[in-house]
Structure formats: C-alpha cells, structure tokens
Amino acid sequence: MAMESPHIRGEMYDAAEFEDVIRKYKIHGVPKIVINETIEFLGAQPERAFLSHVMKAAQSPDGQK
C-alpha cells in the first residue's frame, strides 16, 4: 500500500527489540497493526478488510480517535 500511494508509509517493527513500542502499543499477540496511532487490529487480514481500516484512517478528521 505504501508503494501505491505517496501518502502512505508502511513501517515494520520487530517489536521484541523495542521495549517502548511493546508498552506504548500494548503488543501481546502479533502481528498487530496500528494505523495513524488510532486504528488497531490483530492478525493478518484479507486485503479488503485491511483496506477498510486504511480508508477509515484516511477519512477520519485529525485528532479524532
């Protein structure tokens, strides 16, 4: 998705290396996906479900959780 749109950045984190990340995002099960700090979901999801999360993040006004 990052390749497709210049507005999208994709970041992969090896959470085990970063204590602060485990704490901040409460990583218990992996993979965990967080979009724009607000939308969270667990597990590999099919493309359509994933896309709906991304579109929701892209459409929500700034500052809204």
Partner: protein, 155 residues
C-alpha cells in the same frame, strides 16, 4: 562471516536473478559507526542490532548487482535522518529511482520479517505491488497521510 547460510544465499541469489528488474537501494540507519571502521578512529558498537543488520544487508547486496546498500549513522547523518524521518535504529528504508517508496523496517528483519523484506525488495524492484485493482482505486482517493505500523516478533 556472512549471516545467511550457504543454502539460503544460493536460494535467494536465484530468486533475485529470476525476479528482480530495476535497481533497489536499501538505506540503513544505524547506531554507532559503520562496521567498516577507520583504523585509529574506533566507533562505539551500537547497543542494538545495527551491526548484524548492516552485515545482513551487505550479504543481500552480494547476491544481486541490482541491490545497493547505503549506510548512515543516526548520530552523524542528521540531514538524512530527518529526510527519512527515522527515530530508532536499526532502520531500513527503500529507494527506487532515488525515490523513497515509503517502506520502513525497524529492528533486525528476522523470521517472518526477513521474508517480508525479500518480497518488498522484489516488489519495489518490479515497481509493482500485489494489490487488486479496486484497492488501488480506493487508495488513489487518499489525500491524508496514513502511517501503517505492523508489529511482529521473530518466532
């Protein structure tokens, strides 16, 4: 000594030969200095896996003429750190035709992440991704910045 086992190197070299098209540059941001220290100027070893990640990327560079690696220091190369918006190390960014493709790997890419790294190298090299046409249409409508963070741990 390379990090990748001989069988893995052979497998990956072949895969790259078959699948890579354009050049891909892997940009590494690391703690401490580069592994290639200048005699008389010993750099402090990073407290993270920067050394191993650098070695891994150089291993990959050996496996195809289409892969280039650039190494920057979090401490010394502040302008690059800012340009790529890096806040932790080791971090890998991807360049295709000198353009930041918007992909980052934080931490040494091992286990599942390594597979994802290889797939990303191939996709970026092809300039193609695996998304459906309808997904691409919807993504094209996005005007706001979206940062997708994926957290994994090696199994």
């Amino acid at each position: 000594m390379p990090l990748l086992a001989k069988e893995d190197q052979d497998f990956i070299r072949k895969k790259f030969e078959q699948e890579l098209e354009g050049d891909v540059t892997l940009v590494l941001f690391r703690s401490g200095g580069s592994k290639l220290t200048i005699p008389g100027r010993p750099e402090q070893r990073g407290a993270d896996y920067s050394d191993e990640t650098e070695e891994l990327l150089h291993d990959l560079e050996e496996l195809s003429p289409k892969i280039k690696v650039q190494v920057y220091s979090m401490y010394a190369d502040k302008d690059m750190v800012e340009r790529f918006q890096i806040d932790r190390t080791p971090a890998i960014a991807f360049l295709s035709n000198e353009k930041d493709v918007g992909i980052r790997f934080f931490g040494i890419p091992s286990g599942y992440e390594f597979g994802a790294l290889l797939e990303d190298i191939i996709d970026v090299s092809k300039g193609k991704n695996r998304l459906s046409a309808s997904t691409k249409t919807q993504l094209a409508s996005i005007e706001k910045d979206v940062v997708i963070k994926v957290f994994t741990t090696p199994t």
